[in-house]
Symmetry: C2
Subunit: 141 residues, 2 copies
Amino acid sequence: MLLKIENVGQYLRDAGIKPSIQRLKIFEILAKSYEHPTVENIYTQLSPEIPTLSKTTVYNTLKLFQKHGLVMVINIEDNETRYDADTSFHGHFKCNVCGKVSDFNIPNTQPLIESLKGSLITESHYYLKGICAKCRLRTDN
Amino acid sequence: MLLKIENVGQYLRDAGIKPSIQRLKIFEILAKSYEHPTVENIYTQLSPEIPTLSKTTVYNTLKLFQKHGLVMVINIEDNETRYDADTSFHGHFKCNVCGKVSDFNIPNTQPLIESLKGSLITESHYYLKGICAKCRLRTDN
DNA sequence: TTTCAGATTTGTAATGATTGCAAATTTATA
DNA sequence: TATAAATTTGCAATCATTACAAATCTGAAA
């Protein structure tokens, strides 16, 4: 989801990350779009602007962001890892036709799970799959 | 989650799958355990019993089960695909210490998401990560 | 029972995402 | 300006998964 951050450099510094050009640009892509880009997406988008960019840097940087709690990992497909700069609890919906992943808010708070009493929960993920309204109109589903 | 199925062969046939020995055994592992095994797990467990078993067969068979709606795929880690023969809506909790994935029931029904109106939902996934009660006692978390 | 066609399984090679690692580059500091 | 530390890069290695063709099995027809 689109994150409104005035100063990305400061945002990274506050999280304990030195804002290099690569880190700034990668984070901006994550924060300033409704996409949930893959490593490949990020690399392709940034390559023209930073021709020396290495895919390894994208991987390293995302790992770093993750370690500092700035991104969450979205594992909907087993062959496609996506990243989201919005780490607040929200759902993801993936359309199997157009392939887009969109966010949705989850109205009520999470239920307390009896069988998990005593556990420490550090991450919550909720996602749905199906066919989005737009694709349903275009196809016959 | 443990599935109580009297006749696995019939269960497969009813789903339109001819029950070969490999298919039967693979499905039994999925249904008759609380684990959520990976391809590697299944292959390792079955190899002694079916020495000629190929890992490709495990992959193919799980794809087939999936196509016929007999298993759901669990993507919690991006490098670890797990399978569950219980396809009813329920949650998964992964402990980051011991690595176990357990099931939990989700009490209330799913909320209707306003922004997904018009979409067709075919799959729902809900999972949590953290540290299970047992591991919290053993460690200092 | 034998034969044959189709289904299933198998082994190996290919693919593709991710990681390891060491060299090159950049940045900050003295 | 010199130097050390941090960061980036490129390439090789790893690992899960898939593609594919050969081998095997199964079940029906003769």
